[in-house]
Symmetry: D2
Subunit: 333 residues, 4 copies
C-alpha cells in the first residue's frame, strides 16, 4: 500500500517533511498547498507533485493523508477540516496555544474516529529512541529520575516569541513530551523557575529565556528540565535516565567527530547548529512511523492526547512561575 | 612557621585529616583525642604524636589549631571552647543541625575574633577548583545556570539517617555550598521536590532518598541540584556551569581510565566508590588551605557563615517540600 | 547541467552508487547493466531507469558517464572501452591486481584524454575530510607522523580472499591511499610485517590476516598502518595526524551514541558493523564529487594515478614481507 | 619487617624515590649519598636521614637495600658493588648502554644470588596495570596486536641526547619493556624507521627524534611503537591491546578533567606536562613492589634480565635503521 500525501505548508519544516515523504518507499507526495504560491511551486518542481489549494486537497480522492506545517493558529481548524473529510492527519506541534481549543479539536477527532499524530520529532531521534529501548529492555531497572538539558543556540526574533506562546509552550513543550516518554508514568506535579538572562527584549515581550522545571509522578518519579535560549557551543540536547539498576544517557551530536590537540588543549568542534541538522534522521523516522501506522504497522503516536498533555504542562509551568508554588496537574486538566 | 595541630576525633575522617596534617611541610600533628582511646592511639602510633584529652589539647601551649572530627552534636560546643582558648578551628560540616545553635556559635566566634573554617571539601577538588578558575578567568562570561549532579553509591544505614538531619542537611548541603561557590551571588529563592524511591526504611525514618532542588538569585541566575542515595555505577559527582559566553563542566572521576571493547560494546570501569577515594586530593588541599591561611596566605574559607547559609538552604528546602511552594531565603535567615 | 549515468554492476556496491546518483540533483541514472538480469532489473524498478547491455550503454548517446562496479578482473578492460567511447569513468578500486595492467590501462586513458576517478571512498568521509581540512588550515603545522588503524569486524570467505589479491591489495590499499592523502608527500620507503592470527584457512590460501606497515617519505615524514581482519567491537576506522604544532584525530563512529552505566561500568554500543553503514555519507559525497568535477567544479580525484600508486604500495608491502627488508618505491614503480 | 634503605643519587628522580621510600610503612630511609653534598643534605633534612658516602652505605649494617639513581655510567659498577655486599638493589634503567657490560653485570648478580630490580616505572602505572589485569583475566582473549604511542612534550638538550645512548636506548626502551609486558611472549623480530623532524641538532648529534618500530613474536603476535620528541599537547602515553575477543586500551591522563565549550568548540586541558607528574603513582607503586618483594610478597620485577632484553631491542632497532631490514633478536642476544 502506498500512502498518498498532501502537504499543507511549504516553509522550512514543510520542506523537511516533503523530503521525508518522497524518500519513503511506501508513500507518494501528490500535492502541496501554501499561502505563498512560489513556495508551493518550488516543492512541486523538486518532487514532481501538484500545487493545489487546501480545500482541493481536502476534497481530493487521490489523497489519503496530510502533513500540516502551516502557522500554529491554523492547526486546530485544519485538523478538524481534514479529519471530517476522512484524511489521516499528521500535525506539527502544537495543536493550538489554547488548552480549551485543543480539547475541542480532539473531541472532533474522536467523534470522527480520526487519525491524528502530533510532531514531537525527538521521540524518533535514533539516540533518544535507543535510550527508551534500554529502559524497555530493563537495563536501568525501574526509572527514578530523568534529567533533560535542552538549550537553543540562540534566541528567536521577538516577533516569533510573541506568537509562540512563550518558552514553555514553544520550547519546553518538547522536553515535557520527552519526560513523559521516558518516565512512563503520568506527571502529577510541576514547579518551574524562570528568568530573563539572554535578551531583555524577551522579558519586555512577557516571556523568559532561561527556565528550570521539576516534575513528579504519583509514585515519586522525578524529572528536571533545564532550558536556555543561549548555547554558544551549538544545539545542546541531552537526556539522562536514572533507574534502580543504573543509568542511560544520550550524548550530544556534532557534524564531525574530530579532535585537534595543541598547547591550548584538546578541542572538538561545536555541536550541530540547530534542529534542522540535529534531527534530520528524526524527522524522516517520524513520517515513516506515521506512514507505517496507516498501513497497520504500529501506532500513530505521539497522539493528539500527547499534544494536549504537553501543552497542559506548559500552562502549569507558567502558573507555577506566576504563583511561586508547586502546581498539581489536576488543577489544569 | 609550623602550625601545631590537635586532632579531635580519630574516626574515618579524622584519619584523613591526620594524614593531611602530617603530610604538610608547614604543619605538625602534636596530639589526638578520641572517646575511644584505641582509635586515638592508632593515629598516635602511626604519626608519632601524643594522645591527650580534649581539655588537655584545649589548654596546651604547644598547640595552635584543631581539626574537629567528632560527632556532629559536639561541634558547636567544641568550636566555642577552642575559639575561647584562642585556638584556630577547622570543623567538619555541619556546625550543628539547628540553625539557631549555629548562629549562637558564630556569635561566640565573632566575639572572640576567632578563626573558623568549615569542611566543605568539594571546593578543594582540583577539577571543581578548575571549573571555578575558568569562571574567574571569564571563560564562560556571566554565569547564568548551574547544574549539579550528586548521587551516592548507596544509602547509609537508617540509624545514620536519623542522626544526620536528613538528606538536605547531610548530603545536599555540599551541593548548596557548591552552588553558592559557582553562582557567585546570594541565593534568594529555593524550591525542592523529594521522594522515597531507594529504601522504604528511609521514608519511615521521616527522610527522603531522591530529591531535586532549584535555586535562584536576585538577578535571576539559577541552579539545579539532583540527588539520589543510589548510583550503581559509583559516586556520581558532576557540575556544569553555563554562562553568557559558554559552558564549563567537570567530569566524573574513576580510579583507572581504561576501556574494554568487545561484542557487547565499549566499557569503562565504574566511578570511584565513594568520597574517601574520590576526594583524596580535596581533603589534603582543604587542610593545606587552612594551614596557609593561618600563615597569612589566603583566607580560611569556607567560613562559619558559609556553613550557616548552606544549613539555612537545607532548612528552606525542607520547608519547600512540606508546603509545596517556593521559599524565600528571607523567611529563613 | 545534468550528468546522465550508466551503472555497470548491480551488486551491493552498485546499489550504493545507484542511490547516490539518483539522490544527486545534478545527475540522472539512465541505465544499468549486470550479468544477472534480475539484479539490474531490481535497480531499474526502484529508480525508474533502463536495463541495457554494457555495450549498449557504451554506445548510448544519452549517457555521459559510467560507474563501474563489476568484478575486479573486468575493471581495466571496461575503463579502456568506455574511455575510448568518450564516457567519463568512475571505477571502484582496484583498477586491476596487476601493476603492469594498471599502467597499460592508464596509458590508454591518457592517450584518449579520458576522465577516470577511482573509488577510494574514505577520502570523502566527513570526519576524515575534516582531518584533512585541519591539516590544510595549518592547525597541526607541518605533518610529521600519521597513524592509521583499520580493522575489519571479520574475515571474508576464503574464496574471496583468493580473488582479492590478498590483504595488502584488498584492505590495506585504502590505508595506503589515506596515508598519501594525509602525508601530502610521496612515499619512498615501506616495510611490513604480516601474520595469520585470525583464521588458518587464510594462511593456507597464501594470505595474511594481521599486518603492520611503516611508510616513509623523502623528507622523513612517517606513517604507520595497523590492519586486522578481526574486531569484535565493530568496524574500527581511526586516523591520527601529528604535526609540528599539534595533533588532529578522527574518532570511531557508532550508529547510536548512548551510554549505559551500572555496576559493571559505563558501556557504549559497538561501532558500525562494516563499511556499508560506516561510509554511507562518504559514498554519496564521492559520487557528488565526480558529478561536480564533470560540471567543471573541482577535480575528479582520486585519479587513476592514485589507484596505481596505492597498488604499487601493496606490491611493495608484499615484497617487504617476503624479503624481510625495507623496500624502496623506486624498486616497484 | 621494615626495609632499611640507602639512596644513591639525590637528583630529580632520587627525590621521587626518597618520597616513595619514606611514605611506605614497611620501609625507612636511613642514608643518602650524592656527589653534590648539598643535594644529599636537602633530602636528609626533609626526611630526617643521614648523609653518608656510597662506600659507607655499602658497608653499613643498618642498611638492607639501595636505590640507585646516579648517572647511567655508574649503574653497573654500583650494582656489582652492592650485590657483592649483600644489599638488595633497585636500579634506575638502564643498567648500562653497552649490552656486553650489562651481561657481565648480570653475571655478577647471578653469581652472588643478588636481588636486582630495574626501574621500568610504567609497568606500575595504575592504568597500564589495569590493562594488563584485563589481559590476565582473559577479557580480550589471546593477545594479537599491541599499539604503543609515546611522545615526549619536548626534546631534551643535545648534551643529554649525546650521553643517553640515543632515542631507542633512552626513550623507546620503556616501550620495548611495555610491549614485552603486554605481549607475554618473546620478541623475535624487529624493524624500525627513524627520522629527524623536530630538531636538526639532534640529527647532528647522530640521533633521531621521530621513530616507528614494529615487533613480532615467534607465533606472529605483533606490536607497533610510535615515538616522537614533540607533543605540543602534553605527555602522550597510550597503549592499546587487541586480542581474539576484543580490545583494551589505556587513555591519556590530564591533571584536571574539565571541559570548556564555546563557539570554538569543546576544549579539555592539555595532558600532564611530563613523567614526573604523569607517573607519580607509578613511582610509588614501583618502590612498594620492591619493598614487598624483599619481604617475600611477590617478585622483584622487572628484573635485570628484563633490562637486558629491552636494551637488546634498542640495539636491534638501531641496526634495523642502519641496514634497512628486519633484524632477528637471535642476531643480538
Amino acid at each position: 500500500m502506498t500512502v498518498r500525501f498532501g502537504l499543507l505548508g511549504a516553509g522550512r519544516i514543510g520542506k523537511v517533511h516533503a523530503k521525508a515523504v518522497t524518500g519513503d518507499a511506501n508513500a507518494r507526495l501528490v500535492a502541496v498547498a501554501d499561502a505563498f504560491p512560489a513556495a508551493a511551486q518550488a516543492i512541486a518542481d523538486q518532487y514532481g507533485c501538484d500545487v493545489r489549494t487546501i480545500d482541493a486537497i481536502c476534497a481530493a480522492k487521490d489523497i489519503d493523508a496530510v502533513v500540516i506545517c502551516t502557522p500554529t493558529d491554523t492547526h486546530a481548524d485544519l485538523i478538524e477540516q481534514f479529519v471530517k473529510a476522512g484524511k489521516a492527519v499528521f500535525c506539527e506541534k502544537p495543536i493550538d496555544l489554547s488548552l480549551a481549543r485543543v480539547k475541542a479539536c480532539l473531541e472532533v477527532v474522536r467523534a470522527h474516529k480520526g487519525t491524528l499524530m502530533v510532531g514531537f520529532n525527538r521521540r524518533f531521534d535514533p539516540h533518544f529512541k535507543a535510550v527508551r529501548a534500554e529502559i524497555d529492555k530493563g537495563s536501568v531497572g525501574a526509572v527514578e529520575m530523568v534529567t533533560i538539558t535542552s538549550r537553543d543556540p540562540g534566541a528567536p526574533p521577538v516577533d516569533y516569541i510573541k506568537r509562540s506562546g512563550g518558552i514553555f509552550r514553544d520550547m519546553t513543550i518538547h522536553d515535557f513530551d520527552m519526560a513523559r516518554f521516558l518516565l512512563g508514568e503520568d506527571i502529577t506535579e510541576i514547579v518551574a523557575t524562570a528568568a530573563v538572562l539572554v535578551d531583555k527584549a524577551i522579558g519586555e515581550a512577557g516571556d523568559f529565556d532561561s527556565v528550570q522545571v521539576m516534575l513528579k509522578t504519583a509514585t515519586g518519579k522525578q524529572a528536571m528540565i533545564s532550558n536556555s535560549r543561549r548555547a554558544t557551543y551549538g544545539y545542546d540536547q541531552r537526556i539522562e535516565v536514572h533507574g534502580s539498576l543504573g543509568m542511560v544517557a544520550a550524548e550530544n551530536q556534532r557534524p564531525v567527530s574530530i579532535e585537534v590537540a595543541n598547547a591550548a588543549g584538546y578541542t572538538r568542534p561545536p555541536l550541530h547548529d540547530f534542529f534542522m541538522t540535529r534531527y534530520t534522521e528524526a524527522y524522516a523516522a517520524e513520517i515513516a512511523t506515521f506512514i507505517a501506522a496507516l498501513a497497520g504497522k504500529g501506532r500513530a503516536e505521539p497522539s493528539g492526547e500527547d499534544g494536549l498533555i504537553a501543552l497542559a504542562l506548559a500552562d502549569a509551568a507558567l502558573r507555577s512561575v506566576a504563583e511561586g508554588r508547586v502546581v498539581k496537574m489536576t488543577e489544569i486538566l
